[in-house]
Symmetry: C2
Subunit: 450 residues, 2 copies
């Protein structure tokens, strides 16, 4: 079976020098590691039930996916954040060689982008999947209102063009779903947005795209076992190196896939890592303002954009390479332009070999520059390995949260912006917030330059 391999060598001081982690440092953190292991494996964590706990709904998801796939031209996810990044990253990773239904994820309220979507699709040949647990997400609900209005104006039945994925009992969307008799999938209690790709949030879009969702879950189950181990646990070690890094000024975690298909995995990881670990208070209520900023970079492309900074800039990063063992195809570099000797070395090689040579060369350059880095190798990019990779990072995030002593599963810091949006949009009940905003110190014209 295809697998994932985790190489931490280049994060150690023995390889990378002063800015790496010494064996003593790591040994000293053993209590923290053990404590995190107890917490993660003792506490009930909703996302850990997903790999093996959904047998009762899988066939319905698969059947619904297949029928949408055969009956519609377009499938459009209406969702944002955790309801979008998983479907985008998985859809992109596994789109190679697949044909059939057009797949869109509409994760913004930009009027130009929305206009373009409606210009592109025939709404009568489209199934929308609206995803929001609370049903309060203003972006998603505004999109749904717009879509419903357009369907109704065309005399089309909502229930033939909208599937809802939401909370079982509470919120605006479940109410609408019931009223309009929409096919509905449930986001399980205890599964937050950024941990939801392996529940119906992600499984339905994957099934619509023709992906093998049982294999995704099998990969996640394999990784759940690996990352539950007391020893030799790659998720716990990944978390430990990143958390130890924070105390050494490493406030940036770079995720660098060397495969176009995995480009959006970095975006998915960015939400998971940022929103889970970026916290003002620890569990004891102490103000800690902790967290680590995730940065996505694509190999080899961003070697020509970011590697100058990574090798010569501040020692503030730990870099994770995602390496693919075997691509789904390769392409020869032919021996063209024989009169130019300087490029002759390329002829007769393959693009896959060039890509991996560049990854390996970049790993070497970072090593020489004393920059800690980790390489995760996926044997291939498949449902199984993608499911495993997602679950790995979710487990690593859970461990890191415990090591930092914070709650990795809440997001209190987004509340202020939501309330301010309600106030600015004139939602009733938010008049006081509006008054507070209006009472702000006025801006000075001297700081505004034209």
């Amino acid at each position: 079976m295809a697998k994932l391999t985790f190489d931490f060598n280049n994060a150690t001081a023995g390889m990378v020098g002063d800015h790496g982690f010494t064996e003593e440092e790591i040994a000293k953190a053993n209590d923290m590691l053990a404590g995190a292991h107890r917490a993660v494996n003792g506490r009930q964590m909703g996302f850990r039930l997903l790999p093996n706990g959904q047998e009762d709904i899988l066939q319905d998801i698969i059947d619904t996916g297949a029928s949408i796939r055969s009956a519609y031209d377009n499938f459009v996810v209406l969702g944002i954040g955790g309801s979008a990044l998983g479907p985008i990253s998985v859809g992109h990773a596994l789109s190679y060689g697949r044909h059939g239904i057009n797949f869109f994820v509409e994760d913004n309220v930009d009027p130009e982008r929305l206009t373009r979507l409606f210009d592109t699709i025939d709404i009568g040949r489209t199934m929308f999947n609206v995803i929001t647990k609370s049903g309060k997400t203003s972006e998603t609900m505004a999109q749904l209102m717009c879509v419903a209005d357009r369907l109704q104006k065309k005399g089309l039945a909502l229930r033939e063009h909208i599937v809802a994925t939401t909370d079982e009992k509470n919120g605006n969307l479940i109410r609408i779903a019931k009223e309009e008799h929409l096919k509905t999938f449930v986001i399980p209690a205890g599964v937050g947005g950024r941990f939801s790709e392996l529940c119906p949030v992600g499984l339905l879009p994957a099934a619509v795209c023709g992906l093998d969702i049982r294999a995704m879950l099998a990969g996640a189950a394999y990784m759940d076992a690996v990352c539950g181990r007391e020893e030799n646990n790659p998720a716990a070690l990944y978390a430990l190196l990143h958390v130890l890094g924070i105390s050494k000024g490493i406030n940036i975690s770079v995720m660098m896939p060397y495969a176009d298909s995995l480009k959006y995995m970095a975006d998915w990881y960015a939400q998971l890592w940022a929103e889970s670990l970026g916290k003002r208070f620890d569990r004891d209520g102490r103000e800690v303002n902790t967290g680590q900023t995730p940065v996505g970079a694509l190999g080899v492309t961003d070697q020509h954009s970011q590697i100058q900074l990574y090798t010569e800039g501040p020692y503030d990063k730990i870099i994770t390479f995602l390496k693919v063992g075997s691509f789904r195809c390769d392409l020869d570099i032919p021996a063209a332009f024989p009169y130019v000797e300087d490029i002759a070395y390329l002829g007769g090689k393959t693009f896959g070999a060039l890509l991996e040579a560049e990854r390996s060369a970049t790993e070497y350059a970072l090593l020489r520059a004393g920059r800690p880095n980790i390489t995760i190798t996926m044997d291939d990019v498949s449902e199984y390995t993608v499911g495993a990779l997602l679950h790995f990072f979710e487990m690593a995030t859970a461990y890191a949260g415990e090591m930092l002593g914070i709650d990795a599963f809440d997001q209190p810091g987004v509340e202020e912006g939501k309330l301010a949006t309600f106030a600015l949009m004139g939602k009733s009940g938010f008049e006081e917030k509006k008054a507070e905003m209006d009472a702000q110190t006025p801006k000075k014209s001297e700081w505004i330059i034209e």
Copy 2:
């Protein structure tokens, strides 16, 4: 004429509190500011000649662009880094409402992506624009070899399907261009990759897409005047706040456009800021390991991914909003689902209003959380304002380089990786580097986990 407005209020301590910049701090930096002004406006900087210095070639670019646009179905840029990010960001920003030729930028050597490109396009109906100044860029040259071979096998003349953009005299590509009689555009001496969007590197793709390149340059010329001023200079102030930030632990610069059309501007900025300022040595040869890590985030989308970290995490960021004054279209949010009172506030508003309310709310939330931020407002997204924006950031980068005392125009840190790639690919002359790599400390199996 449309313009750009720069609002620095929320970066000041008066607005944002302890983590903002005090008027004293800024006043104290006056010498640094003046010195940078002298250096930038005294030194010859290649990119500053572009807005007004290309009259002799503009008509050729416009005519070539128009003829490609009318005679081909597809236009494919082969380039990477500075030869790709400009064409991508400008093409994306200004694609709204435009039709005609299909535009691709192939900026990786991923075999799956390349295979998909060749599966998508009819090569006989395609013009390729190969862009590399040195002609040594292995990714681009490998792509060119592959394209040339495919054209030749189809009996198609290279000169009818390839335009070269490269150095006037030196390198592999100009040699090939001459030998194969390719139409060629010159990258001016003194214009580095990341500063090259407003030379033929970016102007030809823009012209092919039907954009008004004279307006782009006019916008840049307007901004060159604004950013050359001794007082009230937004580029110098932008640079100053970022550089002062570095000394206060602000090692991250977030670029957050609130418009899908500007999403890739953040990627273009990421190369410019990272590669220009991320330097090991200052001009006096002192080891400084300076720089600031750029991070792109898209509004409103990434509010649901990154704002938790930005408001509650470490005080390590300065955030720049890109605000669009007027979108090219808007869309109503209709009053659907009247039985759900909780979403009634959305009905009757527009998506454009929702987007701006969310931006404004996020600005407010960051302010309340004490996080310094800047807002750049573009009256609209047009050739003129996009040209102005590009030139603004290039000027800001030049100022920041002077303030940091480093050379913003070189990239010595990418050399090691290039040499290692040559060694791994078996290029002759790099046997010693290969031996050095082989002699590395071997990896320990205990740090590799399966």
